[in-house]
């Protein structure tokens, strides 16, 4: 990438972070987050529309199709900010649908989705902990987040080597919901009918899911970064034995170790995003980098949020303390778009070993 393109990319990333702070301030508007928990649909459609107006849902969609045409660096920066803010609006899932609709050339539904006028969820998953798309016609589609706020579902059906995409309206759909730990929900859809809006190759489908996995890793990065910042504040202020507890070496060293994991997570996510934005990067290298980033982010986010509870002590175990919201979000996000173990296997399969 030339220096000029790199500067442009950095500028886009900075701008997106600034605009994210306007709608979803880091640290979160926790009153809003709490008010939406365990309610239907679990997010605020007005905020979803704002996200559309900001161009976030179609951030990765080419400009000529009504998107912002920005890179994964910008998308990950945005996802990180939304993760830190605990925003419940399902941006990564919406962006996945936008990308698939754009690639299939489904202009109408795409327009409404990227404008934030509708939520379209891609109903790809048929098995827990999976990252492949069987596209079985009758199989129930699992783990659709905030599904009762969706206007339609995008159902991929296996067709030869690729997929045909069916857009099924939410109205009248056979959908059941289960609440999730973070106050949202997972829907199960039994697909039925709908309109074919286009076709996609298997490679297109996989690349789109990989981007969603990386976006999820960035969400997790934001979650752990913010949970850690709050924990550091607590360590600096909470007094025991006549001193701030952050002055105790056992806790300092634990905090240092968590910092290392967060730094590794950030380096991993950002280097994977950089690879995605380099047109000349081989697909296998990109796949390996994304797999690694998702595995790191999942493990590190669970470690950091778990330790954040421990370092908060008794108050950390109360629902009243906001730190618990971060653990709950990490629990829900960690295994979305592939578990850490699955992604490590993908890494091993994709990354050739280099002779030392």
């Amino acid at each position: 990438m030339s220096a000029m393109l790199e500067d442009e990319r950095d500028d886009a990333i900075r701008m997106i972070r600034d605009s994210a702070a306007g709608i979803a301030p880091r640290g979160g508007d926790r009153k809003r987050i709490r008010a939406l928990r365990f309610q239907s649909p679990g997010f605020d459609p007005a905020v979803w529309r704002q996200m559309g107006e900001q161009g976030w849902i179609g951030l990765r969609v080419p400009e000529e199709q009504g998107g912002a045409g920005l890179g994964m660096g910008a998308f990950c920066a945005l996802a990180e900010e939304l993760g830190a803010a605990l925003a419940p609006e399902p941006l990564v899932h919406g962006a996945l649908s936008a990308r698939l609709l754009a690639e299939a050339g489904a202009t109408g539904p795409l327009e409404r989705l990227v404008a934030g006028e509708a939520l379209v969820l891609t109903a790809w998953q048929e098995r827990a902990g999976s990252f492949d798309v069987p596209g079985t016609p009758e199989a129930p589609r699992l783990f659709l987040p905030m599904a009762d706020g969706a206007q339609s579902f995008l159902v991929p059906l296996r067709q030869g080597e690729g997929f045909s995409l069916i857009l099924q309206p939410a109205e009248g759909a056979d959908l059941t919901l289960e609440p999730t730990q973070d106050g949202g929900s997972f829907g199960t859809l039994r697909p039925r009918g709908g309109e074919t809006v286009g076709t996609l190759s298997a490679a297109q489908m996989e690349a789109a899911l990989e981007e969603a996995a990386l976006g999820t890793a960035a969400l997790l990065l934001g979650v752990m970064d913010q949970a850690f910042a709050m924990t550091l504040d607590y360590l600096r202020t909470r007094q025991q034995f006549g001193k701030p507890i952050g002055s105790f070496q056992a806790l300092q060293h634990r905090a240092a170790d968590l910092k290392v994991q967060i730094a590794l997570g950030r380096a991993s996510v950002e280097s994977a995003a950089m690879l995605c934005d380099r047109a000349d990067a081989p697909a296998a290298q990109r796949r390996a980098a994304i797999a690694r980033a998702k595995a790191r982010a999942a493990d590190a986010a669970l470690l950091v949020t778990r330790q954040a509870i421990q370092l908060h002590g008794g108050i950390g175990y109360t629902d009243e303390a906001d730190i618990g919201l971060y653990l709950r979000r990490a629990m829900v996000l960690a295994n979305q778009f592939g578990t850490a173990a699955l992604h490590r296997r993908r890494f091993a399969a994709a990354q050739p070993e280099v002779e030392a």
Binding site: L232, Q252, H253, A255, A263, R344, A348
Partner: protein
């Protein structure tokens, strides 16, 4: 004189690569321990002929005058090829210190002899009672007329048996804050009263030594900088070299040997091994990504922050975890003193022991965590 900084990074990298691939002695690649001067001198002479002894020194003082970015490329290519580190304290530590804080006379006297390989320097910092708490050092230098008289003991002095000069932190004032009574002194090891005793380490190698000073007379002009300013000078020199303690090289090399061992032991394809091995590989790749973010800071010409401690902390931990897995899969072979089947690449116990001191030297992991907690995370106390 070649202006290396004017070359593109790619051209310079290719030049370094050509140099090591065509001239580096094959039998010295990836040695299992720090080379003694005698063992590595043939390589020094090759480097000397090329004029590449001191990459970071200015050209007018006989260095290559490389900027940080080019120095990193040089070191990356050396590491990639498995080029051994020579006794290099003169080039890396003392030279930059004299260039910045020394007198004209000190530069003229000492720098050319470093470049010529005539003086081999070692570093006298740690003492039996001053390891992690270095500033509490007690080796004392008392000014008597034109000479300092030095008494005390240094320890963990790397390759002191090879050196004819030692630069030391010595106590010159006991009255105030402990950091403010330390001076930087250059001592000829042939002076009467200097005794060197090698220490056999856990790897059964005599890499470091004890150095004793018994009424050693050191000319006053061998003091560098002002008296009692030694601590801040030495600290100022902890420059961008700190990044190299966190280089992924050791772990990358160990990981490749882990793979060879696993294949030899017939466990490479076992799912349990694959799972753990892949995790280590991911750790290494993430470490490289983190390392690159610090390299990028240097490339922008900015100083490294205290957060560079993360690199050393993680690299040493990873290196140890890799060698611990070697020990596990090696079976009884992991207890062998020598490499398996005479193959230097199959030596789980050797690699394991080699990894042990990395969490101790250069600021132990506990010290690094303390630095991170206080200087980066701004925790109290």
């Amino acid at each position: 004189m070649t202006d290396y900084n004017a070359m593109t990074d790619e051209d310079f990298r290719a030049e370094v690569r050509r140099f090591v691939e065509s001239e580096y002695p094959a039998h010295l690649r990836n040695p299992p321990h720090r080379l003694h001067w005698q063992e590595g001198e043939e390589w020094f002479r090759i480097v000397q002929k090329k004029g590449w002894v001191a990459p970071g020194w200015p050209q007018e003082l006989g260095g290559m005058g490389l900027d940080a970015s080019k120095q990193i490329i040089l070191i990356e290519e050396y590491e990639r090829y498995g080029v051994a580190r020579l006794p290099d304290h003169g080039v890396i530590m003392l030279g930059p210190l004299l260039i910045r804080f020394g007198t004209e006379a000190q530069r003229a006297r000492f720098l050319p002899r470093i470049l010529a390989g005539e003086d081999i320097w070692c570093q006298g910092y740690s003492e039996p009672g001053a390891g992690s708490d270095l500033a509490s050092l007690r080796t004392e230098a008392v000014l008597e007329g034109d000479h300092y008289v030095v008494n005390g003991q240094k320890i963990w002095t790397t390759l002191a048996t090879d050196a004819n000069w030692i630069f030391c932190l010595v106590r010159t004032d006991k009255s105030g804050k402990k950091q403010e009574g330390i001076s930087f002194l250059l001592i000829d090891m042939k002076s009467p009263g200097v005794t060197v005793r090698p220490i056999i380490n856990l790897g059964l190698h005599d890499e470091f030594c004890e150095v004793f000073f018994d009424n050693v007379q050191v000319p006053r002009e061998n003091l560098v900088g002002e008296p009692n300013k030694g601590w801040s000078m030495a600290k100022a020199l902890l420059g961008f070299e700190r990044i190299f303690l966190g280089s992924p090289r050791q772990s990358a090399y160990a990981l490749s040997r882990l793979r060879m061992l696993a294949e030899r032991m017939g466990v490479y394809d076992e799912p349990e091994f694959q799972e753990r091995y892949t995790k280590l590989r991911c750790d290494l790749e993430d470490h490289k990504a983190l390392y690159e973010t610090f390299v990028a800071v240097l490339r922008r010409g900015e100083p490294l922050g205290a957060d560079v401690s993360m690199l050393k902390l993680h690299q040493s931990d990873l290196f140890q975890r890799i060698t611990e897995l070697m020990l596990e899969i090696g079976g009884e072979n992991a207890g062998l003193l020598k490499p398996m089947e005479g193959n230097r690449d199959l030596h789980p116990s050797g690699q394991f022991i080699e990894a042990r001191p990395t969490t101790i030297y250069g600021g132990s992991s506990e010290i690094q965590r303390g630095i991170l907690a206080k200087a980066v995370l701004e925790l109290p106390g």
